[in-house]
């Protein structure tokens, strides 16, 4: 009896979260795919039903002939969408690189800090992550505006004579993404750098290795798991980012997250929005699987 209860509880521990994720994470993707094959209709919900079971199994299979790939053809035929995908990937890649450039020295400095100071520094990196994303992006509007604080400061100190136009440009998006995702870059970098044995560098120095090549030969390879995890944690969400291009990027910025949002909320074209989402997912499926494997490996090592 006791054994049976034990078996049942262990089963429940797995089954409950499993079913939840199946129902609210996996099944929705199947529905998105299904609706991406539908056509728009003026109704609520605004699409023609596809693949229903209401007419029996035979009719269900007959429906395969009626599936529309029009939405995908439409996306492929319109250069606007292709450019949006491309510019999203480019913007995300540049931002990830900038975040790595800024995050690495900070993480390195933290890892070399006195051990008593490290928990406080770690806490200070995590704290901005707890404050609202929207608020942090919003804060930059007041700074980057033509009459904003940055221009006021630069004009006051005499560095520039005319206000810089930063808001509503790509530069503003880079700043926004780097700023918002910097903790995601620093944390995994710090985790790898903290474990590093720094006597290796001293040994290299003693043997006459210059600091720069010691960095590339020792520090960077040892930090590589952190570099990969950090870059993926920044790059993947940044590709589909909506809030930053919308608030900081202005109207002419093309990013796919914003395109999807507009298809859905402004044009009310649910099938096209679904097709945009499916292609975005296909674009990100390789980096996401890469990320999962890195996570699983880190988990195995932790044991």
């Amino acid at each position: 009896m006791q054994r049976a209860i034990a078996a049942l509880t262990s089963r429940l521990v797995i089954v409950v979260p499993y079913l939840w994720l199946l129902a609210f994470f996996l099944v929705p993707f199947i529905i998105v795919f299904k609706i991406s094959l539908s056509t728009t209709a003026i109704a609520m919900p605004p699409y023609e039903p596809v693949m229903t079971l209401s007419n029996g199994i035979g009719a269900f299979f007959a429906q395969f002939r009626d599936l529309h790939f029009d939405n995908y053809a439409w996306l492929g035929g319109d250069p606007l969408y292709m450019r949006a995908y491309l510019s999203s990937v480019v913007i995300a890649a540049i931002s990830t690189f900038l975040a790595l450039l800024i995050g690495f020295p900070v993480a390195y400095g933290m890892a070399r800090a006195p051990a008593t100071l490290r928990p406080t520094l770690l806490m200070l990196v995590i704290l901005p992550f707890w404050t609202s994303f929207l608020i942090r992006v919003y804060a930059w509007i007041g700074i980057l505006k033509p009459e904003g604080l940055l221009n006021q400061f630069l004009l006051f100190t005499g560095i520039i004579d005319t206000p810089l136009v930063i808001l509503n440009t790509h530069t503003a998006i880079f700043i926004g993404i780097v700023y918002s995702y910097l903790p995601f870059m620093i944390l995994p970098l710090y985790a790898s750098l903290e474990k590093m044995d720094y006597s290796l560098i001293e040994a290299a120095n003693d043997l006459g290795c210059p600091p720069i090549s010691a960095f590339w030969k020792i520090t960077f390879p040892l930090a590589l798991p952190g570099v990969i995890a950090g870059c993926l944690l920044v790059f993947i969400p940044a590709v589909g980012e909506f809030v930053i291009p919308d608030l900081l990027g202005g109207s002419q910025t093309l990013m796919i997250g914003k395109t999807l949002w507009n298809e859905f909320f402004a044009n009310r074209d649910w099938p096209v929005a679904s097709a945009v989402a499916i292609i975005l997912l296909l674009l990100l499926v390789v980096p996401i699987m890469f990320f999962q494997q890195a996570q699983a490996r880190a988990q195995e090592q932790g044991k």
Binding site: P17, I31, G109, W130, S132, G142, L247, L280, F291
Partner: protein, 272 residues
């Protein structure tokens, strides 16, 4: 040699933290600005805070957000802790690869995709959009964060304690509540806090899954931000930042005290 490195380290840390904190500090300072112009200082004033509390729309949205956050964080913590247990304790069960995939993928999934897919699910099953749909959506992505936080604690957990309790005749459920939970509690609390703030912050997923009468605070702030920067929004943001900062500091202080106490107890037990 060492001195120059440490100077370089101190400079990079200082610049990094200045970059992380300056925008937030400026936002807080300008919420106390007398002038309606957000970027020109016109003297100290708290008038935007009183204006904020008279703004019924914002107050309603704050109340909705608070309730969604409480409910979704609690459910997400339970489900996330179960998921973490399943991942660390059962290394082999059917569909484990899919399961761990579903736990880690939402961490990096672009929010527009999560939001759209959940909305289409709710429409497909004929679930009216509103308070409940936002809550369900928040549970789904927050539980994955909880699972990761709790899992990192479970990995370093000494399982012999559990085995001892079971040998002494405790049921698995009793063992969990008497032995496992007290040890992993700091992680569970951090997980709850994280889930709560994620829910409090979320704009994109809430915009997709919300319906009439369930406008959350970020949705309200977003619609006002699109019209321009106002000191009232700065004030609302400052209050949110204050609440979150206070909560995070409290939890970390409590966790630290518990940790010190635990070490002292262990030390005493070893000597006694």
């Amino acid at each position: 040699m060492n001195a120059t490195w440490s100077r370089f380290n101190i400079v990079s840390i200082t610049l990094g933290f200045a970059f992380l904190y300056l925008p937030i500090v400026l936002l807080v300072i300008f919420s106390f600005n007398e002038s309606k112009l957000v970027t020109v200082w016109g003297g100290f004033s708290t008038k935007w805070y009183s204006a904020l509390f008279r703004n019924q729309g914002l107050m309603d949205a704050a109340w909705v957000t608070f309730r969604v956050g409480l409910l979704s964080a609690t459910i997400a913590t339970i489900l996330g802790t179960l998921a973490a247990l399943a991942l660390t304790r059962y290394t082999r069960f059917r569909g484990r690869v899919l399961f761990s995939g579903m736990v880690f993928a939402p961490l990096v999934m672009p929010e527009v995709i999560t939001g759209l897919s959940l909305l289409l699910l709710f429409v497909a099953i004929g679930f009216d959009r509103g308070f409940m749909t936002v809550t369900l959506a928040h549970v789904t992505f927050a539980m994955c964060y909880v699972a990761v936080v709790v899992q990192s604690r479970l990995v370093s957990f000494d399982r012999s304690l559990e085995e001892a309790a079971m040998d002494l005749g405790a049921t698995p459920v009793k063992t969990f509540f008497a032995v496992t939970l007290p040890v992993i509690l700091p992680a569970v609390i951090s997980g709850w806090m994280l889930a709560f703030t994620l829910s409090l912050d979320d704009l994109v997923i809430a915009s997709f899954t919300s319906g009439p009468g369930a406008t959350t605070l970020p949705m309200k702030i977003y619609s006002q931000v699109r019209l321009g920067v106002t000191p009232e929004i700065n004030a609302a943001c400052t209050i949110l930042i204050g609440i979150v900062t206070l909560g995070v500091i409290t939890v970390s202080v409590v966790n630290k005290r518990r940790e010190v106490q635990r070490q002292r107890d262990e030390h005493a037990a070893q000597r006694g």
